[in-house]
């Protein structure tokens, strides 16, 4: 299976404070990898490095074999991102937000219109395309952000705690939808969360704590490695007992 994302010996520090230490992992095509870690584990820093908002001298990040530092534009073209905080323009309509994004990816108006319709339809948001984002609830805003992140057909989708603040049905809807995308469209996903119930048994898992990878592999492998049969228990042991 081809590798969509490869993070190799990546380290990052804010001044003298190490935020990430020697991070190494890969994500294959169609794989959903859950990046599990408590608040402050370094998840957002890792996302900022993968999206090239920040640059690290130590280590390498490859998206579809493209180096994010040396070929950042080509690499970023393969990337869709949903940040932890809503990054939609509140005063613009759903449609305007999506058109803005499509223009940044160089999509012609015709292509953009077709893709926007397709993605909004898939998210059940087509009828609300003319509404201002400010008028939407949190769950709907997230759906728009996911539609936006997929407009340019990326091969890798990054989701940084996308369900924070959402109610249970909205959360479940997003989790199921993303897993369907992996399965049907071969989309690779890196999903940062600290919520155990967002993990599917088929997912890959990375447990990040205090800037270090404490465990990685399939859900079963991670649980077996810690001699437990429960993710919550494993997570607790990895992030509390060894803290």
């Amino acid at each position: 299976m081809s590798t969509t994302l490869a993070v190799q010996t990546l380290s990052y520090a804010y001044g003298n404070k190490a935020a990430l230490k020697n991070i190494d992992f890969t994500i294959s095509k169609g794989e959903c990898t859950i990046l599990l870690g408590p608040n402050g584990a370094g998840k957002t820093t890792l996302f900022s490095l993968i999206t090239h908002l920040y640059d690290s001298r130590d280590g390498q990040i490859l998206i579809n074999s493209l180096d994010i530092k040396k070929q950042s534009c080509e690499a970023l073209a393969n990337l869709g991102v949903v940040f932890q905080q809503t990054t939609l323009d509140m005063d613009l309509s759903v449609l305007q937000n999506l058109h803005y994004h499509s223009s940044l990816h160089g999509m012609t108006r015709k292509t953009a219109a077709a893709r926007i319709e397709e993605e909004l339809e898939r998210q059940g948001m087509l009828e609300r395309q003319h509404e201002k984002v400010r008028q939407l609830n949190g769950g709907h805003r997230r759906r728009v952000e996911i539609a936006r992140a997929l407009l340019h057909k990326p091969s890798l989708l990054l989701l940084d705690e996308p369900t924070v603040g959402l109610d249970v049905p909205s959360r479940k809807g997003i989790v199921d939808h993303v897993h369907t995308l992996c399965k049907n469209d071969g989309l690779s996903v890196l999903w940062a969360t600290h919520l155990i119930d967002e993990i599917h048994p088929s997912d890959q898992m990375i447990v990040l704590h205090q800037g270090e990878i404490k465990a990685q592999g399939s859900v079963n492998e991670v649980c077996d490695g810690d001699s437990t049969d429960d993710i919550a228990q494993t997570f607790k042991q990895l992030t509390v007992a060894k803290a």
Partner: protein
């Protein structure tokens, strides 16, 4: 970067700025009220006390309102530049700046696009001001309204780049008010916007020196000459040089590995 991609993206960035601007009508009105108050109240009040001798580009004695008009156009662009920078700090805090920065285009291009978008808005404001001023009998030659356009583009870019530079150094929105006080007001008052250089020299040598080196003064002079169909080479070169320097530092400030965002240890939000 492909040319077609760049053009589509640039159109998108400008269009977004326009959408935002049109949705914020108060911003448009405020941007016009400020210079109009200066024109109708301040300039009218000072008309009798501040006589203006014949100085280029004017060919005859002029009223103070006529002199101040170019400075007020500069003021519109100065405030717009700072407003854009404020919105960039806001966008960064709110996260929407990330949408721009993670798009597959070179960072310098994205920042230049943002700058052009802001300048475009400031030019619309400037012409709206001139339209109102025209009815107040502040009328330049017709050709001047055309030759003014390139001057407004350069002045707008320079002041926008200054705003962008500041936004890369300002970490939080709360710090912005201080910058406004330390940048906008000194720049505006220590310039040729309100009084000609020779008049400042009469009062203070130091102020005269500061005003003549102030890039805002040169932007105002560029605008003043262009409005009367003339070209001020020195003002043009000075404004251009200031733009290049401000822009270079701003792009450096937004560079993910070298910029101030990293040096501050602010990290991603």
């Amino acid at each position: 970067m492909k040319l077609a991609h760049g053009i589509i993206a640039l159109k998108g960035i400008i269009k977004r700025e326009l959408w935002r601007f049109l949705r914020q009508r108060e911003r448009f009105i405020a941007s016009l009220v400020r210079p109009l108050v200066w024109l109708f109240v301040f300039a009218a009040g000072f008309r009798s006390t501040l006589g203006i001798a014949i100085i280029p580009p004017y060919e005859t004695y002029i009223l103070y309102e006529v002199y101040i008009a170019a400075g007020l156009i500069g003021m519109i662009q100065l405030f717009n530049g700072m407003q854009s920078s404020l919105s960039m700090v806001y966008d960064r805090e709110m996260g929407s700046m990330k949408t721009l920065l993670v798009s597959p285009l070179p960072r310098w291009f994205l920042l230049t696009g943002k700058l052009l978008a802001g300048t475009f808005v400031s030019i619309m404001q400037a012409y709206a001001f001139l339209l109102i001023a025209w009815f107040y009998d502040i009328q330049a030659p017709w050709l001047g309204y055309v030759t003014l356009l390139p001057a407004l583009i350069l002045a707008g870019l320079m002041l926008g780049a200054l705003g962008m530079l500041l936004s890369s150094f300002i970490k939080q929105l709360e710090n912005f008010a201080g910058v406004m006080n330390f940048v906008i007001f000194p720049m505006f008052f220590m310039s040729t916007a309100l009084y000609p250089l020779w008049k400042i020299k009469e009062s203070s040598e130091l102020l005269h020196t500061l005003a003549s080196y102030n890039p805002f003064s040169q932007a105002v002079e560029l605008i003043r000459f262009a409005l009367y169909g003339q070209f001020n080479l020195y003002a043009f070169l000075y404004t251009l040089a200031a733009f290049v320097i401000f822009m270079a530092v701003a792009v450096w400030g937004y560079n993910p590995s070298k910029g101030m965002m990293v040096k501050k240890g602010g990290g991603p939000s």
